[in-house]
C-alpha cells in the first residue's frame, strides 16, 4: 500500500436470499487512491475483503448503464461517483430503489425490460424503404427534435428516483416513456398512434405527477420529465377532440 493512502468506510446493503431474511448493512474499510470511483471501491472489496459481494458493472465509463446504485440515498452510477467526494465521511451504498433486491446490489429489472418492449422502441415507418431506395433522409432540425431523448443508456437511475414508479410499478416510468417520446418525435417514424394508446393511459403520461427528480439524476441529461410532460397538453386536447378529429396530439 502506498504511503499516505487514505481509507474510507463503505456501508454496503447486503442480502443473500439463501441465508438472510432481510437486507442489512455491512461496513468495509476501503483503502483508496484519489481518482477511485465507488465502483473501484466495490471491486476492491470483492477482490481483497469479501468475494461474496455481488454487483453489476461493465464499461466503467458511464455508457453501459450497468452500475446504477443508491449512494448515500441518491441514485448514481458507481463508475461516475468518486470516493474522494465523500471522504472522510462514511459512504452508504445500496441497490437501486424501487426495484426488488435480488442479491446485494443486484436488483430485479425484469419489469423495466418487459416494459421496454411495450412501447415498440423501433422505427415504424409509414412506407418501409426498399434497399435500392437508400436510407431515410433527415435534416439536422428533424434530428434535434429527438436527439436528446435518444441518449438514454437504460441505467434506470430515473426509476430509482421516481416515487410514482415506487408507489405503483404499473406506471411505465420515466426512461421508457422518454424513449417512447424519442420514437414519436422521429420524422422517420409513423408509429405514434400505436404507442399513444399506452401514452394516453394512467400507465403512460398521466401516471406522472411532475416530481421531475428523474431529470435531476439522469447521467445523460435526457430530461425524461420533459419528454413525458410535454405530451400532456396534446393528450388532453386529443382527449376532447378525439371524437371530432383523432390526430390532435402535437409532435
Amino acid at each position: 500500500m502506498a504511503e499516505g493512502t487514505k481509507t474510507i468506510e463503505m456501508e454496503i446493503l447486503r442480502y443473500r436470499p439463501e441465508q438472510d431474511k432481510k437486507p442489512f448493512y455491512q461496513t468495509y474499510a476501503v483503502a483508496f487512491d484519489n481518482d477511485w470511483s465507488v465502483l473501484q471501491g466495490l471491486q476492491y472489496i470483492k477482490d481483497e475483503l469479501d468475494s461474496s459481494l455481488s454487483f453489476r458493472w461493465s464499461c466503467r465509463m458511464a455508457i453501459c448503464g450497468s452500475c446504477g446504485m443508491m449512494i448515500n440515498n441518491v441514485p448514481r452510477l458507481g463508475c461516475r461517483t468518486f470516493l474522494r467526494n465523500y471522504y472522510p465521511n462514511k459512504l452508504r451504498v445500496g441497490g437501486l430503489e424501487h426495484f426488488p433486491i435480488e442479491r446485494d446490489l443486484v436488483v430485479v429489472v425484469d419489469d423495466f425490460i418487459n416494459k421496454l418492449e411495450n412501447i415498440k422502441p423501433y422505427l415504424i415507418p409509414k412506407q418501409p424503404l426498399k434497399l435500392e431506395q437508400g436510407e431515410f433522409l433527415q435534416t439536422p432540425e428533424q434530428l434535434e427534435k429527438y436527439r436528446q431523448f435518444s441518449t438514454c443508456i437504460n441505467c434506470m437511475l430515473c426509476y430509482a428516483a421516481c416515487p410514482q414508479y415506487g408507489l405503483d410499478s404499473k406506471f411505465t416510468g420515466p426512461g421508457i416513456l422518454a424513449l417512447m417520446h424519442r420514437y414519436n418525435s422521429d420524422s422517420r417514424d409513423d408509429g405514434r398512434d400505436e404507442r399513444l394508446k399506452l401514452g394516453h393511459s394512467e400507465q403512460g403520461f398521466w401516471g406522472c405527477t411532475a416530481v421531475a427528480y428523474c431529470s435531476e439524476v439522469c447521467p445523460k441529461s435526457v430530461d425524461p420529465a420533459n419528454a413525458i410532460n410535454q405530451n400532456k397538453m396534446g393528450s388532453a386536447v386529443d382527449y376532447f377532440l378525439r371524437f371530432i378529429s383523432p390526430r390532435g396530439t402535437a409532435k
Binding site: 416515487p163 408507489l167 394508446k197 399506452l198 394516453h200 393511459s201 394512467e202 400507465q203 403512460g204 403520461f205 398521466w206 405527477t209 400532456k232 393528450s235 388532453a236 382527449y239 376532447f240
Partner: protein, 118 residues
C-alpha cells in the same frame, strides 16, 4: 388500454394554477390584508354596495366565478395526487371528496352569482 380521464381535471388544475400564479398573491393581499388594514388600498374597496355592483356586472360575475372555481379545481387534482403520494389509496371515496366537493362549490357559486341578478 383504458384511456385516462385525468385530462379533464388536469386542464382545470392548470388553469387554476396559472391564474393563481399570475394574480393570486395580489388578491390575497387586497382582500385579506390591504382592505382590513387600509394598506395600499381603500378600506371601502370591498364595501357591500361596491361588491354587489361588481357581482351583478357580467364581467364581475365572470371574474368571481373564475377565481373561486378555478382555484378550487386546481387544489382538487393536487390534493387527490397527494393522497396517493402518502399511500392513502385513491378509491371512490377519495374521488368523491376531491372532485365532488369542487363540483358542488362550482354549482353553488354559479347559483349565487345568478341569483344576485344583473
Amino acid at each position: 388500454m383504458k384511456r385516462s380521464n385525468d385530462p379533464i381535471f388536469w386542464l382545470l388544475f392548470g388553469a387554476g394554477g396559472m391564474l393563481s400564479a399570475l394574480i393570486g398573491a395580489t388578491l390575497v393581499f387586497v382582500s385579506g390584508i390591504g382592505v382590513p388594514l387600509a394598506l395600499l388600498v381603500s378600506r371601502d374597496l370591498m364595501r357591500y354596495e361596491l361588491m354587489l355592483g361588481f357581482a351583478q356586472h357580467w364581467l364581475g360575475k365572470f371574474i368571481v366565478f373564475a377565481v373561486i372555481v378555478l382555484f378550487l379545481w386546481h387544489a382538487a387534482l393536487r390534493i387527490f395526487h397527494m393522497l396517493h403520494d402518502f399511500g392513502i389509496h385513491a378509491g371512490a371515496g377519495a374521488k368523491l371528496i376531491c372532485f365532488g366537493l369542487p363540483l358542488l362549490c362550482t354549482v353553488a357559486v354559479a347559483f349565487w352569482l345568478l341569483n344576485l341578478g344583473f
